[in-house]
């Protein structure tokens, strides 16, 4: 039990640190949101007025206290640039991102696991070379370049999918999947390559173990040995690796969402950063960091469950 307590405390501490760092950093960023709202129509007096009305003139620690107090009491405030409640905005955009993150993970796993197993079974044969090379090539392309290629192929040439935009799943679910497909695929391909490599090396390790030899000796079919026995043992490590990719995915969505004009968390965070909307930067970075850490935590728990050899502590 003390393990959970410790982990929870350390997560909370890290989140607090994150919020402080983000707050400090965003206040060092040149420019402020008042300038962004008024643009090239501003003059010093008008700016001063707007800053006052937005509460930007308070000392930074007061602004921070204000913010953290709001976060804890569930009042996340308004985005300064969009003038919309941050909680609403985050919920909307996080839903959008969740769609592509889940889709890309599904695509990646659905392709990576069979490919990795196939590769491991035919270790050092041509099948292995082919799939390993493909995987290596996959991780060698930037996500946004995958995105560009997908746009060229599926949107521009074939016209099968829209090249951009987001569609609200609440209104029309199938439309929303349709719009999310290309960005999800762009993210999924890079991820797939990575997971294929991981699945392969895990499977290679497991296939070399004693119990596999025993199973084979017992006369079980090769298919049962590989797909039932070996794979069930590989799922733990592979799922762990997949879970740990969430952090990487949240970095990638910034670029990929921008490319596809897909308005999710990545887009929102980038817009907040560009517009110096401090409360919004705070909230979105905080949410991203919290999601990344929670996922890591869950992955650890999962690992604990599937592999009791890991000691607590």
């Amino acid at each position: 039990m003390s393990y959970f307590l410790n982990r929870t405390l350390s997560i909370l501490l890290t989140l607090l640190l994150i919020s402080m760092i983000t707050f400090a950093v965003t206040n060092i960023l040149p420019g402020d949101v008042a300038m962004m709202i008024m643009g090239t129509q501003s003059n010093p007096e008008a700016l001063a007025g707007l800053r006052q009305s937005l509460g930007l003139n308070d000392p930074i620690y007061i602004q921070y206290a204000h913010w953290i107090g709001g976060m804890l009491t569930g009042n996340w405030g308004n985005s300064l640039i969009f003038k919309v409640p941050i909680a609403t905005l985050l919920l909307q955009k996080a839903t959008a991102s969740a769609i592509i993150v889940v889709m890309s993970m599904t695509i990646a796993l659905a392709l990576a696991v069979p490919l990795g197993v196939w590769s491991a079974v035919h270790r050092d044969k041509w099948q292995d070379t082919v799939s390993s090379s493909a995987a290596l090539f996959g991780v060698s392309l930037p996500d946004f370049f995958w995105g560009i290629m997908l746009i060229l192929l599926f949107a521009r040439t074939l016209g099968w999918f829209p090249s951009s935009g987001f569609s609200d799943p609440g209104e029309d679910f199938s439309q929303s999947i349709y719009h999310a497909f290309l960005p999800a695929l762009a993210l999924g391909l890079g991820l797939m390559a990575h997971l294929t490599r991981m699945t392969r090396s895990t499977m290679v390790g497991i296939l070399g173990q004693e119990f596999i030899r025993v199973s084979r000796a017992k006369g079980l079919s090769e298919r049962t040995v590989v797909w039932r026995y070996a794979l069930s043992n590989a799922i733990g490590p592979v799922a762990t690796i997949a879970g740990l990719q969430i952090g990487y995915l949240f970095g990638s969505i910034i670029v990929v969402e921008t490319l596809f004009s897909y308005t999710g968390m990545g887009w929102l965070t980038y817009q907040a950063l560009l517009n110096r909307d401090v409360p919004l930067i705070q909230a979105s970075v905080f949410v991203i960091a919290a999601v990344v850490m929670l996922t890591n935590f869950l992955v650890d728990l999962f690992y604990l469950l599937v592999d009791p050899r890991v000691r607590l502590g």
């Binding site: 420019g31 008008a46 909307q92 517009n275």
Partner: protein, 515 residues
């Protein structure tokens, strides 16, 4: 070699003539009788932000809100001030009193009927520094606002401010909001315009619906959805697939192709904005007018227009709106003369290689980055080493606009059709937009005098002198007016009414969809 290539190629490309007629060109489409109904899906090129009409200074937001709000007065195509929500207005001969008779029976979107009290409320809100209004200085000289009766507003000035009426014709300052609606304007803009605000989803869309009680007759369209699609190629794709009825801002390199496509109608107009190249007049080399003139001479404006904007604009030496009576038609851009520029620089004491200049351009306007890259090549030939710093909009605003920390830069302005706003703000030594540290006593005297000159013709003459002075001294290098553009399906009617005379706002009051 490269320079010659560059030149030869453009000689062949150039075919544009600079005639300031026919501001809006519309590809031929038969005029039919408008019908009511339908929701127009517009692919909007930019992101809409803070919806409070008083606070926002971004062209993108005003472009949309133009349809939600009405101003007390407005302008016709020749930029003359005409009645808006005031059915008549009167300026006392001494220029110190303005009397507005408000239009009876005007309804706001919240159901209230407009009176002079709403106008008074709106102007006071704009004037109040606590509102953080971008145009609050319009009311600087207002001494009092009185309501002799419910429908009359009398504004008394503490001193003559000749451009006051014209400034009220802008939505930012002259818009009338229902009394006490200030708190909701940022989230639910409410006005007396032809369309009601329905919803806003940050980064995705703004939805508007027809306001049936609009004072100037209801619009044809049931509604307008302004979908925000910032990627130009994506907007085009949306138009091609029929997902969108209309888009604004056709990518300049695709203009000819779209114009030639009969499945679309195109509208192009100018100016959308003017662009100029800025020199920090407080930076040692630029204190010398010879250096500034030499820099002007390095730039081939027509070629730059071809290079950065694919020719979608017209070069100009004056930033005044071409339809404005103050436009000084006598000014002609300095032609490119690299040898002459070198000689001038030598006179000023700068041998080739002596000047190393940082050029700050913003990624907010990608064509500025293109222009900067072309300039680097020319300046290298003139013996000046130009280094580009590519700034995000936030960085540009903070470094160049606010801190005035730059050597050379480039900017554009939308909607500055009013001469006082343009020249006083940009060129007076204390002007709000004077980020180039311009400090020229001649200009200060001229623009101050213009402000108190009530006679329109005399005032226009003063502004012509200002333009001459800006040009002679090369305080900035004014280069071109950029074209605005929009494309639509052939099912869209009334496109000729789309563009507001200010060149930025798009108005959907008279636009309709064929069944």
């Amino acid at each position: 070699m490269k320079r010659r290539d560059f030149l030869i190629s453009t000689a062949a490309l150039m075919g544009s003539t600079a005639v300031f007629t026919n501001l809006t060109t519309l590809s031929a489409v038969a005029q039919e009788t408008p019908v009511k109904g339908g929701t127009l899906i517009w692919g909007h090129s930019e992101t809409v932000q803070n919806l409070d009409m008083h606070q926002t200074g971004t062209a993108s937001t005003s472009r949309v809100l133009q349809n939600v709000h009405s101003s007390i007065v407005t302008v016709d195509a020749n930029l003359n001030v005409i009645p808006g929500l005031a059915e008549s207005f009167e300026e006392a001969p001494d220029g110190l009193t303005y009397t507005f008779k408000m239009r009876p029976g005007v309804k706001f979107h919240n159901g209230a009927t407009m009176t002079a009290a709403d106008a008074k409320y709106s102007f006071e809100r704009c004037k109040d520094p606590a509102t953080g209004a971008v145009n609050f200085e319009v009311f600087n000289n207002v001494a009092s606002m009185e309501m002799p009766d419910e429908m009359t507003l009398v504004i008394k000035m503490s001193q003559v401010n000749a451009p006051f009426l014209a400034r009220l014709a802008e939505n930012g300052a002259g818009v009338i909001m229902p009394k006490d609606s200030g708190d909701i304007q940022g989230t639910t803009p409410t006005g007396a315009g032809p369309f009601k605000f329905v919803s806003y989803e940050a980064g995705n869309a703004v939805t508007l619906a027809r306001f049936d009680e609009y004072w100037d007759g209801p619009a044809y369209l049931d509604g307008v959805v302004a979908r925000e699609i910032t990627e130009p190629t994506v907007r085009l794709t949306g138009l091609r697939t029929g997902e969108l009825h209309m888009i604004n801002d056709i990518p300049p390199d695709r203009m000819e192709e779209i114009k030639g496509d009969t499945t679309f109608q195109t509208v192009s107009w100018f100016p959308l904005n003017f662009d100029f190249i800025n020199m920090n007049n407080d930076f040692e080399p630029f204190k010398n007018p010879k250096v500034r003139q030499a820099f002007d001479m390095v730039i081939d404006k027509e070629l730059l227009l071809q290079g950065a904007l694919w020719g979608q604009g017209k070069i100009t030496a004056s930033p005044s709106y071409p339809t404005s009576s103050a436009y000084n038609t006598a000014l002609v851009n300095r032609p490119q003369d690299i040898a002459g520029a070198k000689a001038l620089l030598a006179e000023a004491g700068y041998a080739p290689g002596a000047l190393k200049i940082v050029f700050k351009a913003t990624t907010n306007y990608p064509y500025h980055i293109e222009a900067a890259q072309i300039l680097v090549e020319w300046f290298r030939e003139a013996g000046v080493e130009l280094t580009i710093e590519q700034l995000t909009w936030a960085d540009w605003l903070s470094q160049v606009w606010t801190d005035k920390d730059f050597e050379m830069s480039m900017m554009n302005f939308f909607g500055l059709w009013e001469s006082d706003f343009l020249y006083y703000s940009l060129y007076h030594s204390t002007g709000g937009f004077n980020y180039r540290h311009i400090n020229d006593p001649v200009i200060d005297e001229l623009v101050t005098r213009a402000r108190v000159t009530v006679d329109g013709t005399a005032r226009a003459d003063i502004y012509k002198q200002v333009q001459q002075r800006v040009f002679d001294e090369a305080l900035d290098v004014v280069i071109w007016f950029r074209n605005g553009s929009a494309a639509a399906q052939t099912s869209v009617g009334g496109l000729d009414t789309l563009v507001h005379p200010n060149g930025n706002a798009l108005q959907f009051h008279k636009v309709w969809l064929k069944a």
